[in-house]
């Protein structure tokens, strides 16, 4: 009887490799680390949105014994540059004397003391003196450029995408050919990532080298920033990720700021220092999703086909450039949606204001531009009197079609599959009118949404990054995966163990995924952009195969040809010592992108998704209950169906929260609701049972067919939910979020619509 092949580890719901440590409380996050002799840091921040720093006074009546104070002067004195290096070097680590204060809660000075309580007390006795200037607190004011924050026009970055036309006149000609034009203005609000572990970092210095450990997504971003700030070479700083309690983009760029601060404090204090934000500080000072306003025109032929799409996207970048150009890029590249259209014009601008810098958050600009086009498509379906889902099925991009940048879709196009999955799952609509348990009238509605999301970095981005990963057989006979991709909860370590295990014929628990540390792992690129599984997972697969080939060759030379890796690994390790295979990213064939014209293959491949949401609205309180939410996502291949389902569901609820419940309020440039009491996110009781359909249309160049999935679940459900609210009430809501008060404010309009229907 033939022996059954043992099932490989890919495609199975393998429990997380870090799961036992997490469920028992043994996993050590940065604030859990026991650092003997460590002091605690605190940050002195600006209270004005715009001004000039005249002085930093230390209260002469305060006892400064056992307190270290750091200002910008300490940076240059040690040969460093006062910048937080990212795309540009416009952001200082600390505002220097005479320098410009650009936002509320900008860091001005630092203190450290033996206890956290003492550090917080000392902070109150450091008194910055700032001459206030007029602040720019919205994008219209920024574009008027009466107050100049960046260049002459306050525009950090502008993109134009043109498809099917040469210039604006030609575009308007095409639009004029439309039978009807739907116009709308769609503001979307900032969103707080609200990872449950606030940001934090610890540092100590040893023999002139700085060792940093903390909560982060991208150790090599921190590493690069520290080289400039500390004036050292790559060996002068070692950055290690601690177990990280969620990121969602919020720990992409800001950890470099905290690293800068804690490194400076530890150097001056001559001992380890921990700098752990409390929740209020984290919400007030760290990055959020960019607020955005999109003006959208949708030109339709008489039969409902799309003739032309025009989108003008303006994002509030905040006070420094940070990652804003890249966020805007992803926003505009997705702004036309996954629909057939011959003529597209997208103009995007991200502008400087005196808000704290906005930054990376899952979806990275795409949720802001998905909401407008999905409201527009819904309006079109309503105008045409056709079923919104069927209309999307009709217009969806298919293999052979081209996107707004002229990218021809050839493989792994799951558009029809995800829409079919939603059509199958939809079931009958729930009864339109009902009465709540409390006796209030209830109105129900159903909304759908269809969207796509590019996997990996845009255009030639992955070639530029040239990410590397290593799989090694150690001298002790263990298999190690070494990459700088961090596990921030999304399961990177587990899927890497599965992928490497599959290539070597090993169970995942036999593969050790090394905790990322810049002195132990190569730079695999940042843990962002829906790229970890597809791009870095692909590197892990190639490196593991190369290792397998090398060990097989050794086995063949030693009379054990054809023996499985597991059987010869120990002997090979004993004979050879460590054997490590490192591979570097190579783009799939045929990927051509022109950065100057923004045309070509924006992404190697897209993920596709569709969503259906049923809502019930209490017409007395205007509270919206999501009764049902189904999301179908084409992931290429589910390396671990349980982990990818959890990742999709987490993103789905973040999107529903953004659409219906979350809100970041700014007042005079300051976050006015910087606490979890007032800046709310969905609880267990707010969430419906989420239905997730995994669709697998394989990507030929991804590991086992896998492609990006991290961001796409965030892109669409807000639009589906708000489309459902519109369906229920019969009036348009063109804003994110739609809160109960948003609905209540338009009671007269929807009451009238309801009585008519």
């Amino acid at each position: 009887m033939a022996e059954l092949q043992p099932a490989g580890p890919v495609g199975r719901p393998v429990p997380r490799v870090d799961g036992v440590a997490k469920v028992t409380g043994a996993a050590h996050y940065v604030d859990d680390l026991d650092l003997p002799g460590a002091w605690h840091g605190a940050t002195v921040r600006s209270t004005v949105a715009h001004g000039v720093l005249d002085a930093v006074d230390l209260d002469p009546d305060y006892d400064w014994t056992d307190v270290v104070v750091v200002t910008a002067a300490d940076i240059a004195a040690a040969g460093g540059r006062n910048v937080v290096t990212l795309i540009e070097e416009d952001q200082p680590a600390l505002v220097p004397l005479g320098g410009r204060v650009m936002h509320v809660d900008e860091a001005i000075a630092l203190v450290a003391a033996p206890t956290r309580a003492r550090a917080l007390e000392a902070r109150r006795h450091v008194r910055p003196r700032i001459s206030a200037r007029p602040a720019v607190l919205d994008t219209d004011a920024a574009l008027r450029a009466e107050v100049k924050l960046y260049g002459d026009d306050n525009v950090f970055k502008r993109f134009v995408i043109r498809k099917g036309h040469g210039d604006d006149a030609a575009f308007e000609d095409a639009m004029a050919g439309a039978d009807r034009i739907i116009e709308g203005v769609y503001p979307t609000a900032a969103q707080e990532q609200m990872y449950i572990e606030p940001q934090g970092m610890a540092a100590h210095w040893e023999d002139g080298r700085c060792f940093l450990v903390g909560s982060m997504q991208c150790p090599y971003y921190v590493h690069k920033a520290m080289k400039a700030l500390l004036g050292c070479d790559g060996d002068g700083v070692v950055v290690t990720q601690a177990v990280t309690g969620g990121g969602f983009g919020g720990k992409e760029e800001y950890p470099s700021m905290i690293a800068a601060h804690v490194a400076l404090l530890a150097r001056k204090a001559g001992r380890p220092v921990k700098l752990i934000y409390d929740r209020g500080e984290d919400i007030a000072a760290t990055t959020k999703r960019h607020p955005c306003v999109t003006r959208h025109r949708l030109g339709l032929a008489a039969d409902g086909a799309i003739v032309a799409i025009d989108a003008d996207v303006v994002m509030d970048g905040g006070a420094y450039l940070t990652l804003s150009p890249v966020v805007l890029s992803r926003g505009v590249l997705h702004a036309a949606g996954p629909y057939r259209c011959p003529v597209v014009r997208i103009v995007g601008r991200v502008v400087a204001t005196n808000h704290p810098p906005h930054g990376a958050f899952r979806g990275f600009g795409a949720p802001q531009t998905t909401f407008p086009y999905e409201r527009q498509i819904d309006k079109a379906a309503r105008l045409l009197g056709v079923d919104p889902l069927a209309y999307r099925q009709r217009l969806a991009l298919r293999p052979g079609d081209t996107t707004a940048t002229g990218q021809e879709l050839t493989f792994s196009v799951g558009s029809e599959a995800v829409l079919e999955a939603i059509a199958r799952a939809a079931g009958p609509r729930p009864a339109r009118d009902a009465v709540s348990a409390g006796g209030a009238p209830v109105r129900r509605g159903r909304g759908v949404c269809f969207y796509f999301h590019g996997s990996g970095f845009t255009g030639a981005g992955e070639q530029r990054i040239a990410g590397r990963a290593t799989v090694a057989l150690t001298a002790a006979g263990d298999v190690e995966v070494r990459s700088s991709s961090t596990d921030i909860g999304q399961g990177a370590a587990t899927i890497f163990a599965q992928i490497a295990g599959a290539s070597l014929g090993l169970a995942p628990e036999r593969v050790r995924v090394v905790d990322p540390s810049t002195d132990k792992v190569p730079d695999s690129g940042p843990t962002v952009a829906s790229r970890t599984c597809m791009v870095v997972g692909g590197l892990v697969e190639r490196a593991a195969r190369a290792l397998g080939t090398r060990i097989a060759a050794w086995a063949g030379e030693h009379g054990r040809g054809g023996a499985p890796f597991a059987e010869v690994a120990a002997a090979a390790a004993a004979a050879l010592g460590e054997v490590a295979e490192t591979v570097q990213y190579e783009p799939p064939p045929g990927i051509e992108w022109d950065d100057a014209t923004y045309t070509g293959a924006a992404y190697p491949v897209f993920g596709w998704a569709a969503c259906l949401v049923d809502v019930a609205i209490d017409l007395d309180t205007c509270e919206v209950t999501v009764e049902r939410c189904v999301q179908a996502v084409d992931v290429g291949k589910a390396i671990n169906p349980m982990i990818v389902k959890g990742q999709i569901e987490g993103g789905t609820l973040q999107a529903l929260g953004w659409g219906l419940l979350e809100n970041v309020l700014y007042q005079d440039g300051k976050v006015a609701n910087a606490s979890m009491t007032n800046c709310i996110v969905p609880t267990f009781a707010d969430a419906p049972d989420l239905e997730t359909v995994l669709v697998e249309v394989p990507y030929p160049y991804g590991p086992h067919g896998a492609k990006g999935v991290g961001e796409i679940p965030m892109d669409g459900p807000a639009a589906a939910a708000i489309n459902a609210v519109v369906d229920a009430l019969g009036v348009d809501f063109d804003v994110v979020p739609v809160l109960p008060e948003t609905i209540a404010a338009r009671r007269d309009a929807w009451d009238a619509a309801r009585r008519k229907s």
């Binding site: 429990p15 469920v23 028992t24 604030d31 859990d32 572990e197 569901e649 609820l653 979890m676």
Partner: protein, 167 residues
């Protein structure tokens, strides 16, 4: 103030300001870092522990309130048998169902869920799932969308009942 309390079955004594948060007593004085601080104002539930068997936010409980009382933290959930640790039903189910992602909320959720499966019978029907959601509404998770955690608590409740010989 000298505070004597029982933590995870062991008698402990600390000499602290009576206003010191139980959270700090656990994390700093007793070095039990499984209990996490997510907000410090009783909203997120990451610091949930059992005080005399009932869930509380350790960030809202003063050390002075704990004299003579029993505290259970996530470190006290797993049992021991044959010289090794045996996960509590809720820990095993969170692992098996994918209910832990980044893990920072997991200790609080595991502690609260352990109380749920002890406190009342949880079936597997829609009503039971709604009840689990209600009882866990003080614990916020930003990673999972809650679905797989609810699955895990329902599964743990079934495992508990099976272990107790119920049909």
């Amino acid at each position: 103030m000298k505070v004597s309390l029982e933590v995870n079955g062991a008698a402990r004594a600390v000499d602290v300001d009576p206003w010191r948060r139980l959270l700090d007593v656990l994390r700093e004085d007793l070095r039990l870092t499984g209990t996490k601080e997510g907000c410090g104002e009783g909203e997120c539930g990451a610091c949930t522990v059992l005080l005399d068997g009932a869930p509380v936010n350790a960030c809202l409980v003063a050390a002075g309130q704990c004299h003579g009382r029993k505290v259970t933290t996530v470190e006290g959930l797993a049992g021991h048998a044959d010289g090794g640790a045996v996960l509590h039903e809720v820990q095993a189910a969170l692992l098996a169902c994918g209910g832990a992602q980044c893990g920072i909320c997991t200790p609080g959720i595991a502690v609260c869920a352990s109380w749920i499966v002890d406190a009342e019978p949880i079936g597997a029907d829609a009503g039971a799932r709604a009840r689990v959601r209600e009882l866990l509404a003080g614990n916020i998770c930003r990673c999972t969308g809650y679905q797989l955690i609810v699955d895990a608590v329902v599964e743990a409740a079934q495992a508990r009942r099976a272990g107790e010989g119920e049909p």
